[in-house]
Amino acid sequence: MKWEKISQIFGLSLVAICFILALTRVIFREVESRDPNQITIRFAHWQLEGTVPRALDALAAEYMKLHPGIKIEQIRIPNKVFAMWSTTQLVGETAPDLIQMQALAADKLVRYMVPLTNYVYEPNPYNKGNEFENIPWRDTFFDGLVNAPSYNENLLELYGIPQTMHVSRVFYNKDLFKKIMGDTRIPQTYEEFQALCEAVKAYSKKTDTIVIPLAASRDSTGIGWTLFSSQTQKLTSKTDSINALRGKGLEENKIAFLKNELDIASPEYQSGLRIFREVSQYMQSGYTTLNREDAAFYFLQGRAVMTMAGSWDASTYFSQSPFNVGVFTLPLPSPNHPDYGRYVLGPITEAGLQSSFSFGLSRTSAHPEIALDFLKFITSKHGNETFSKIAKWLPAVRNVPLIDIIEGFKPVSDGFPSGPALSTWGPDVDRLINNNLYLLSDPNGSVEKFTAAIKPYYNEALISEARRNLRERLKNSARMDSQIGAASQLSLTDPSDQRKVSMLFEAQNFNEAGYYYVRYELKKLGISPDN
């Protein structure tokens, strides 16, 4: 009885203490925000990896030193709740000054974020004294800031400034590697990669320990698909009907499939599936049902020598592994490979990667000019170098030197585009492939079983995707009509709007040319373009 009472008092006291602490914090923040001598700029993001907040803290500290009277505050929000949290903050007009950009709908961008387009044509003042001193801010970035979510192609406006770009790499357990392979170099060729995998299997058998070559999950099937697309590289010329040398992901690929110019049963696709299956045998059985965290645990527990992950996971692996971690680029079969070489053009290029981890300026910022200035500071050459060095992420700004540890993330620029893939065209095709992937990856499966399961339904899924794409194109074009009408009307008094009208017409006409082309090809094949 007595104990019950004590525990009740203890519980209530705990609640009261928490309440007082929270209240003090809110009051303190409120008082601080009313202090005329103290300007506070807050920025929020979901990159909780240890090194990223540390890098941003370092930049904030440096900025505060340069600008006494300005306080920079970092708000870290878990990924899973960020979308909901940020929407609530934006709608409630309590959003921080700078906020990590996500795929916001156009109407939300317009209502809650400030377009930054006009600022990026001027040089970044924090680049004074370096080679970008007289270069427009946007041209200091690898990708020229033309990609989502920084740039919105419907609004033709830039809303975010990026910090990094990401690549996929093989992370490996250096200690285990040395134990198994001795002083052997890390794999430079596909043959050496295979030899490493075989050596790990042999080691596991010999020592009776559970060690597999590659920890994988349904999120890391990219390793198999990357190898797959090396086998279809030469088919790119068959789908380049517009003579623009573009690689995978084109609508022309769908058309080529429907016209039987591409075929899953063709030697190139079968070879791609064979290499996918081959590498799958070095992963955990049933990996296509596991999630990303499972693969990470497997690797961090030392039960796998390698895992394939994005460079965004680097800080987790580097800081949380009880062993030394190294990184290398997945070696693909060279054109001289006796079996797979005949379909390969060469290494797959990573030039053209899009930048990411962008911050946008919220409309409710009390000090937009200072928030923008901080954004300029962190994305200057010096700022981005500091970020890259501490976060161990690739820089988004050109000419930033790479520290040793991320040298392995340096994008491959001497290479050809990857070939047409099987699984990049949207929900119908993806569902078909993912539902049957076990037939390809599991020990009891085979290329033949997978092909037999996919082939009868593949074109049907492609047609469904093509129709969906046509509807999307029509919707985009239709939306631009009202925009064009309004911008034309506004351009009668403000000629600067005429540029927007021209850009909208250009985008609309390109979009419609694609729309009518796909309809034309479907009709020629006797397929109704409508459902």
């Binding site: 020229g144 517009i242 585009p417 925009q483 309004a486 009307q489 008094t493 006409n509």
Partner: protein, 293 residues
């Protein structure tokens, strides 16, 4: 005109004079309205509504124009502009309904009743074509084609009528026809496009034809001609500009125009440092220069 003719055929007298005077007054009012409409700038009261429409905020656009229609019911110029603006908002207001599209169509009709020949009248007709082409759940390309034909035949100098010619081409050139008819159709469309003076329409026209000639495998030389013309007019999207330069190089190479191909490959490498095609293009260039030597 009909009123004047009618008055002239009437015998003299008071009635005839009154009719003549009324006719002259009607003509004068119409001329004034038209003259104003030709140079019509947005009414300052309606600017916030236009700003919303330019930013895709169609719900807000409609609310503001609806209010303006009530507030400026006695000001014919503002009223007409608000009706035009509301129609443009309604075609994209969500959820998209046939009711909204029908109302937009009626509002465009109303705008045209004041004058069909001024900027707003011609624009209204153009957007009626667009309603049939892309907005309705059941699109009607034939109706859109008829409106576009009407536009570029009657108002060939107006930028939207010229754009109607581009839209007309996009629909008709991608119709499935026997090969003989197809080439005749494309050549005829190409020849008749000489009247285009608006850069936006010229860009659309040359881009469309460069694609039609390539994708329908009709004539590579013509593809090149239209790509040159497109380069001259200019393209603002970076991605589209990159594609244009690569296509100029690739089509030149395929046509054995090595010097041209080399020029455009080098231009691409100089202008675009971050693109997945750079290495392929470097290799193309090395091969071409090797064969040139």
């Amino acid at each position: 005109m009909r009123i004047l003719n009618h008055s002239q055929t009437s015998s003299g007298g008071l009635l005839a004079s009154l009719l003549r005077a009324a006719g002259l007054l009607f003509l004068w009012v119409n001329l004034c309205l038209n003259a104003y409409a030709q140079d019509q700038v947005p009414s300052p009261q309606l600017k916030p509504a236009w700003d919303d429409a330019a930013k895709l905020l169609f719900e807000d656009t409609c609310i503001k124009f609806e209010k303006a229609i009530k507030d400026y019911a006695t000001d014919p110029l503002v009223l007409r502009e608000a009706q035009y603006g509301l129609a443009l908002g309604l075609i994209n207001k969500q959820p998209k309904t046939e009711g909204n599209l029908n109302r937009a169509n009626e509002l465009f009709d109303t705008v045209q009743k004041t004058s069909l020949d001024d900027n707003m009248g011609i624009s209204s007709l153009y957007y009626q074509g667009r309603i049939y082409e892309v907005h309705r759940a059941k699109i009607s390309e034939d109706k859109a084609l008829a409106i576009y034909r009407d536009l570029f035949t009657k108002y060939p100098t107006h930028p939207l009528a010229q754009m109607a010619y581009v839209k007309y081409g996009a629909i008709s050139l991608y119709q499935v026809l026997p090969p003989d008819e197809k080439i005749k159709q494309v050549l005829s469309y190409e020849e008749q496009g000489g009247f285009l003076t608006s850069p936006d329409a010229q860009r659309g026209f040359h881009s469309l034809l460069s694609q039609v000639y390539t994708l329908q495998k009709l004539n590579p030389d013509k593809t090149l001609d239209h790509l040159f013309a497109l380069e001259k007019v200019g393209v603002s999207s970076v991605d589209a500009r990159k594609d244009m330069v690569v296509r100029l190089a690739e089509v030149s190479r395929l046509q054995n125009k090595k010097t041209l191909a080399i020029f455009y490959y080098e231009k691409f490498l100089n202008d675009y440092s971050w693109d997945s095609r750079r290495y392929s293009i470097q290799k193309r260039l090395e091969t071409l220069k090797g064969t040139e030597l």
